[in-house]
Symmetry: C3
Subunit: 198 residues, 3 copies
Amino acid sequence: MASLTIVVAAIFLLSLTSASVVHGRSSRRRFVRSYDEPCMEMRLYLHDILYDYSNSTSNSTSAAATKPTALATAVPSTGGTFFGQVVVFNDPMTEGRALPPSLEETAVRAQGVYLYNSKEAFNAWFAFSIVFNSTGRRGTLNLMGADIIAEKTRDISVVGGTGDFFMSRGVATLRTDAFEGFTYFRLQMDIKLYECYV
Amino acid sequence: MASLTIVVAAIFLLSLTSASVVHGRSSRRRFVRSYDEPCMEMRLYLHDILYDYSNSTSNSTSAAATKPTALATAVPSTGGTFFGQVVVFNDPMTEGRALPPSLEETAVRAQGVYLYNSKEAFNAWFAFSIVFNSTGRRGTLNLMGADIIAEKTRDISVVGGTGDFFMSRGVATLRTDAFEGFTYFRLQMDIKLYECYV
Amino acid sequence: MASLTIVVAAIFLLSLTSASVVHGRSSRRRFVRSYDEPCMEMRLYLHDILYDYSNSTSNSTSAAATKPTALATAVPSTGGTFFGQVVVFNDPMTEGRALPPSLEETAVRAQGVYLYNSKEAFNAWFAFSIVFNSTGRRGTLNLMGADIIAEKTRDISVVGGTGDFFMSRGVATLRTDAFEGFTYFRLQMDIKLYECYV
């Protein structure tokens, strides 16, 4: 009787947690290594170009949504921290630190929005997609979170994914790797996915 | 001894993965059919009206956040692709292609923001809620992702839900179903939820 | 033979759903009490200050992204409901209703964006992070959803978290607790997490 219970419980659990495995065809299933060890991780650098060195926007990869050509002329009352500034971006991402040869044709891009939200210091908030478009990786990761610039590293959430990153969740750790005034900044992103669906 | 281990393991797993089932009352539980077959799916059409045919905004369902009445006068330097333009929308959604009789009183609406993020081509990014308000379905789905307009279909993430869609996750596939200049566009959305909580 | 199957199934399930438990060290694991009873809950009040009583922005915690000092001068065609208005905020949050002694140095803050998206009535949409920075709690929760102001309470999604709230998911219920014209509003947020990772 007890063993029957086990059989029933085991079959019930099997159908509940791994229904995809019992199908004949190879099918997608949820994969968690552990919540301490990611099922997938990668380091990427985001390059955000506001103005190039000739002070032109011809190479820019982001645009201030509110005053597209006036990011350098902050509202005086905000104390130069751009409180309220919303910036739309479409930034190349690379595995190494170097800028890609072409800013437009990059295999990985970050597309979305960031905004400055402090009167006292530079502080930002991000919501964006990482778009992968190479033969090796195709799909998107969707992220959002607070970028507390005053802290050396800060974590944001990977809230979902598509394609090769179907349904993925995890955490991305941001670190400012370079900051050149209003022309360029580079963020290091250590992306760790803890729930993969492969 | 071995069978005791199994009993313990089975009981442990039972409590871990299906605690809600052992309660006396009917209670909500996580339901995954498989990660290939959605636990819920639906097709909806989103209608975004910028200007009506008399070039007025009286019927518009979206508003450019930056210059509410000047969407047609793009910043010249962006090459007509509206790079940096942020648009707030509150669009009716329908199960068929036809516009609803009333633009305001629709049982399903998409509320949120999209933005244009490319200098080379039309390319967008979305973050929004689908608000269901009928006798049959009540609640919201929350979505975000890159809308790579150049691709025939593109996937975004369903990152959460409330009410009848409590905690749901999945993927929505977008397809441009109609595009009439700056007056109107219609997106087909195939929404597939893979994690339901019922 | 049947019992062998059970052993295999049990071991398979054990490795699939609770890999972290079998490690020697203490490690993070997914914790769900049930989908009716949160694994963590809290009530917080969000204080959004647009203008102080002398009609100045010196104490403001939010900024209209589009016209940083002109929130009170709505576009006439929007009928006073600010359709299309995007507001960036960095609001103190408290456990009680009272404003914190200092608006800048608060242990809990909400950082992100809300926007007004209706021509007929006040209706909003939120995407933001709750940033915890005390000795007791450190980390962030990331939320998004429709704030249907006409309804007494409305639910939005907790789509992820970091630090002490690593990977958390759940629902937050909003209620307007105070509304003082264009100077101040207070939202009560009942946050219930159903998936914790501890």
